[in-house]
């Protein structure tokens, strides 16, 4: 198990859960019909009436697979989200197909009918990024913002994929039915700017705020390989054209909160966040989920 644990504590956590999920995953594919039969035979196990599956992911190559992050609701109640894997990109890590997707899920015109899912973008795991754990943020203009855990032009290598992750935007098409345009706004280098971003939030003025699990100039003994303790950053859109302005707001260190594994929230101009680790350390061991 340990050798499959990733470079960072979060990835370690994810890997613990994921590997277990993966082991269970194959089994569950075999047993799901048995479970389903149990559900039919035992009405007590049936889903509550107010619970509805809006979309079932078909997986690669035509659909995403394994959503890890939340959905976010946009105009008209359209849901936007991401999947870790799936889509028509190459296999990025593990034995899974595809490198992740961004999808939309449009509510039906009349209640009770089916929702319509559309894959808006397929990641390739190259310079565009790959493997999406984080959910999306929606800008005032309907642009979607997100982060990939891997891919990009940075030098990091983990789980068989290179890149330290990217922050990307996905711009709606000019005309209905056109393709969405993915743009890499920042490709992490693993140096002072950070590595492995946890996603971004968008403020009313269009500035993005986020955290990266590792990187920064303060090394963290708690990270395998003594990676950096992570960073908090802002990204300001250009006035007209040009590139976004990336600013490091904070470099976490082993002397305080470190290794953030979640994005930030903002209130009154102040950012609030959590860090997975901290000094003085909490005494809890890493959690693991075993089905």
């Amino acid at each position: 198990m340990i050798e499959r644990v990733g470079l960072t504590p979060l990835i370690s956590v994810l890997s613990l859960g994921y590997n277990l999920d993966q082991e269970g995953y194959t089994m569950h594919r075999v047993t799901q019909w048995v479970v389903f039969l149990l559900c039919v035979v035992s009405p007590g196990y049936a889903a509550a009436a107010d619970y509805k599956v809006l979309h079932t992911f078909a997986g690669a190559p035509n659909d995403g697979e394994l959503p890890f992050g939340p959905v976010v609701a946009g105009k008209g109640g359209v849901l936007y989200g991401t999947t870790e894997y799936g889509g028509n990109g190459p296999s990025c890590v593990f034995e899974t197909q595809g490198c992740g997707t961004v999808f939309s899920l449009r509510p039906p015109a009349s209640a009770g009918e089916t929702w319509t899912e559309t894959v808006l973008y397929n990641f390739t795991g190259g310079a565009d990024g790959g493997v999406v754990y984080a959910g999306l943020a929606i800008g005032n203009d309907g642009v979607l913002y997100g982060a990939t855990m891997f891919g990009g032009s940075g030098p990091c290598t983990d789980q068989g994929i290179t890149g330290c992750g990217v922050v990307f935007s996905l711009t709606p098409p000019a005309s209905t039915g056109g393709a969405w345009t993915e743009t890499v706004l920042h490709s992490f280098t693993g140096a002072a700017d950070g590595s492995y971003p946890n996603g971004v939030m968008v403020a009313n003025n269009g500035v993005l705020y986020g955290t990266a699990q590792n990187g920064g100039t303060h090394l963290c003994p708690s990270s395998p390989g003594s990676l950096g303790c992570g960073t908090a950053f802002s990204m300001t859109p250009p006035a007209t054209g040009g590139s976004w302005s990336f600013e490091i707001l904070h470099e976490f260190s082993s002397k305080g909160p470190n290794v953030p594994v979640a994005s930030l929230m903002s209130s009154g101009g102040v950012l609030y966040g959590t860090s997975y680790l901290a000094e003085p350390a909490a005494s809890a061991a890493l959690a693991r989920c075993s089905h």
Binding site: Q32, G59, A282, S283
Partner: protein
């Protein structure tokens, strides 16, 4: 928990403040792994993967995770005040370890909604839960399982938080299950 306060003048450095250091099991939470949300009361709400008063020590986890609140100081310069609102436990819910990877969503009426990745009857593929504010001050919040997963067609193993739509309906994802095993998007009307 930390905060980052912008500088008074442009280009100066932001200020990091530690709002709270989790103490870990058995009692307090440990290892938060998702973002916090702020209620209309200005209180921050979140979850921790570990810690809490649940009995998950058999697996070496040390607590099964917790839902916490962090209330702003009542006077300038004093500390933020943390409270564990709910500890996940072994009662058929978390016997093999911690589950609360996702944060919570807070409704206008103060009810918190969240997910756990494992736990939940009958076979521990996670659940969607609610935590209702107590009827009287100081009393415990009431936890209700809104949906339990069996990793079948209706999904399994939700990893992310739910969001509350304008229609008051919860929307979320499951990281497994569905008829193809590739996960689902779901809605739940509480």
């Amino acid at each position: 928990m930390f905060s980052l306060t912008p500088p008074k003048s442009k280009g100066a450095t932001w200020t990091e403040s530690v709002l709270y250091n989790f103490k870990g099991p058995f009692g307090d939470g440990a290892n938060p792994s998702d973002a916090v949300v702020m209620g209309s009361d200005g209180v921050l709400y979140g979850t921790t993967q570990g810690g809490g008063s649940g009995e998950c020590s058999a697996t070496g986890v040390g607590g099964c995770g917790a839902v916490f609140s962090l209330s702003p100081p009542t006077s300038p310069g004093s500390d933020w005040s943390e409270a564990v609102l709910y500890s996940f436990n072994t009662n058929g819910r978390c016997s093999n370890g911690d589950t609360a990877y996702a944060g919570v969503a807070v409704a206008n009426n103060g009810v918190l909604y969240g997910t756990t990745d494992c736990g939940g009857a009958p076979n521990r593929y996670g659940e969607v839960y609610s935590l209702t504010p107590p009827g009287s001050a100081g009393a415990d919040r009431s936890e209700t399982t809104l949906h339990s997963y069996v990793n079948a067609a209706n999904g399994g193993g939700p990893y992310a938080n739910v969001v509350i739509g304008k229609d008051g309906v919860l929307y979320g994802t499951t990281n497994g299950g569905g008829t193809n095993g590739g996960g689902t998007v779901f809605s739940l009307k509480p």
